[in-house]
Amino acid sequence: MTLYLMCFALLLIGIYGIIVKRDLVKIIIASGIMGYASNLLLILFAYRKGGIYPILEKGKDMTGRVMVDPLPQALVLTSIVIELGITAMLIALAIRIFEKYKTFDITKIRRLKG
């Protein structure tokens, strides 16, 4: 239970970072932290007590053993890939914003309002 709560705390840290921080790069890092928290949550849900790794090997005795759930690991890999793309996208956007505004401070980047 403690692990789940800590995972949730990590998610909240990410959201806190996005809301409070003023630097574009820190916001990107915070969104990354949030993504890791959700990945960690998926992996935690896949854990089985005393489970072994879910790989078939030559001569491995599987009788009476519990495997951890392999599906969430595949899901996490997919979501990591997506996150990689989104992070690259955000960094490219941050670079172009810096080019236009000459700052990373979001309080100075406010041409859109209303």
Binding site: A37, L42, L75, T78, I86, R111
Partner: protein, 492 residues
């Protein structure tokens, strides 16, 4: 089996465009137009043949708990028709519009990726696959919002991307929670297993409501929409406002809360509350805008409020009105964004106070914008009138007079702020000389097609046509156990 081709065709088109195009965009346009025409034919064929049945496609010749399945029923076919139809007009418009920004093939590749993502979200029957396609669509949307390379566009795109990544993380957390309770990702199986565990259902439901509410820009979660939709190039604004917030937001909400979670009354009540807040507050915010596209963006939030209100009431007529309003809003909001884009291209401004005597300079744009305005404000022969009327009557019938009066007030406010557009924007007193920009025939055709459609779709309300077109869609939404039995079929 036509189902996988809804995803294969646009994805292959995107890769082909990236491969075969050189410096110019001629080949890219040809490939994109052919792909969109094929998709439209396929979607219409699917919608006509599907009727009240359900088609299930199992990927990789595996059977259902172990595979990703694609599901085509009346609701998804209806959304596919909207996506391809609006997408085709957006493509026609952008062939002429985008060339004054740049002549690169990248726009068309991203556009096809956007279509891929939306088609995938609508066609899939698997919760995680829905997340993946949603990310594809959003990724293309972030890039397309910033396509014009102006400072405001990057700012809007960054804001959109951050809000989108928050909501995507929430979706992933929701999926993790659902998976922990059911050990399954097929939506039909989840629908079977999840109601046995109401705590998890309400927890996951709340997270999904926040996540997809952010995507559909219901009122407390709307902050990104006016920036992103007003900064994007006009055809992309029309795709985002007309189609994207409905596929990623409203369609997923309908599918999840009606077909998977079984329409719990608590969430329906929240739909109604959020919907009515959206209608009222977004209307008041729209009245204060002088930026044409920003006003349209706020109006989108308000119209999404109507759809959510209809879904929240949950009776047969209310859902019919909501579904009808999804179609109508896609048509007239796309039309209005094309008008705004044309005006911006010719005059170089989006400020309503800088416009005037457009009747002389842009006769087609002014005429079609009048159609769009009357449709969005709900004037009788146009389609917007009928869908709003159905929602309002259904609200009174279901015993919610307060919500009905909010909808009436919202409809009236819509008329007020669109009269402002007509009064200052298109029929203003300021005299402007015509500048050298020419409007292509594709832009004009796209606007005229949609203006005709605002009138033509009001025919859908006639009883004979309604039973053929809209009633199967409503039946899919209303029949909560039907989705489970039809998808799982023999292997229950």
């Amino acid at each position: 089996m036509i189902l996988p081709f809804f995803i294969i065709i646009p994805l292959l088109a995107a890769f082909l465009i990236a491969l075969i195009s050189g410096e110019r965009d001629n080949w890219a346009i040809a490939v994109a137009v052919i792909a969109m025409l094929a998709l439209l034919c396929l979607a219409l064929f699917g919608f006509v043949t599907i009727g009240a049945q359900t088609q299930v496609y199992q990927m990789g010749a595996w059977k259902i708990p172990y595979t990703i399945c694609l599901v085509l029923d009346a609701l998804s076919a209806f959304m596919l028709v909207i996506i391809s139809g609006i997408g085709l007009t957006a493509l026609m418009f952008s062939v002429f519009y985008i060339r004054h920004l740049s002549t690169s093939w990248k726009y068309y590749a991203l556009f096809m990726l956007l279509i891929t993502g939306m088609n995938g979200v609508v066609a899939t029957g698997d919760l995680f696959n829905l997340f993946v396609f949603m990310e594809i669509a959003l990724f293309a949307a972030y890039a397309l919002v910033s396509y014009g390379s102006r400072a405001e566009e990057f700012e809007a795109s960054f804001k959109y991307a951050i809000m989108g990544s928050i909501s995507s993380t929430l979706v992933l957390v929701g999926i993790a929670i659902v998976y922990s309770a059911t050990s399954n990702l097929t939506m039909a199986t989840i629908a079977q297993l999840l109601p046995q565990n109401p705590t998890v259902m309400y927890f996951a439901g709340g997270i999904f409501l926040a996540a997809f509410g952010l995507k559909s820009a219901m009122m407390p979660f709307h902050a990104w929409l006016p920036d992103a939709h007003s900064s994007a190039p006009a055809p992309i604004s029309s795709m985002l406002s007309g189609v994207l917030i409905k596929t990623l937001g409203v369609y997923v909400l309908v599918r999840l809360f009606y077909n998977v979670l079984g329409a719990p009354p608590l969430f329906l009540k929240m739909f109604m509350i959020f919907g009515s807040i959206s209608i009222l507050v977004a209307s008041f915010l729209a009245m204060g805008q002088w930026d044409f596209k920003r006003l349209l963006a706020y109006s989108s939030i308000s119209q999404i409020g109507f759809i959510l209100l209809g879904l929240g009431i949950g009776t047969r007529w209310a859902i019919l009105g909501a579904i009808f309003h999804i179609l109508n809003h896609a048509i007239f909001k796309a039309l209005l964004f094309y008008n705004a884009g044309t005006v911006e291209m010719v005059l170089g401004t989006r400020d309503l106070r800088q416009m005037g005597n457009l009747t002389k300079i842009l006769p087609y744009t002014t005429a079609t914008s009048m159609c769009g305005t009357l449709a969005v404000a709900g004037m009788p022969p146009f389609n917007g009138f009928f869908s709003k009327l159905i929602i309002i009557i259904a609200a009174v019938h279901a015993g919610h007079p307060i919500y009905a009066s909010i909808a009436v007030a919202g409809s009236f406010l819509t008329l007020v702020y669109f009269m402002k557009v007509q009064r200052y924007g298109f029929h203003g007193k300021k005299v402007i000389e015509r500048e050298g920009v020419k409007i292509g025939w594709g832009m004009r055709t796209a606007m005229i097609i949609l203006a005709v459609l605002t009138l033509a779709t009001s025919l859908l309300i006639l009883p004979g046509i309604r039973t053929a077109v809209l009633d199967p869609v409503v039946a899919v939404i209303m029949n909560k156990t039907g989705y489970i039995t039809q998808v799982l079929g023999g292997n229950l």
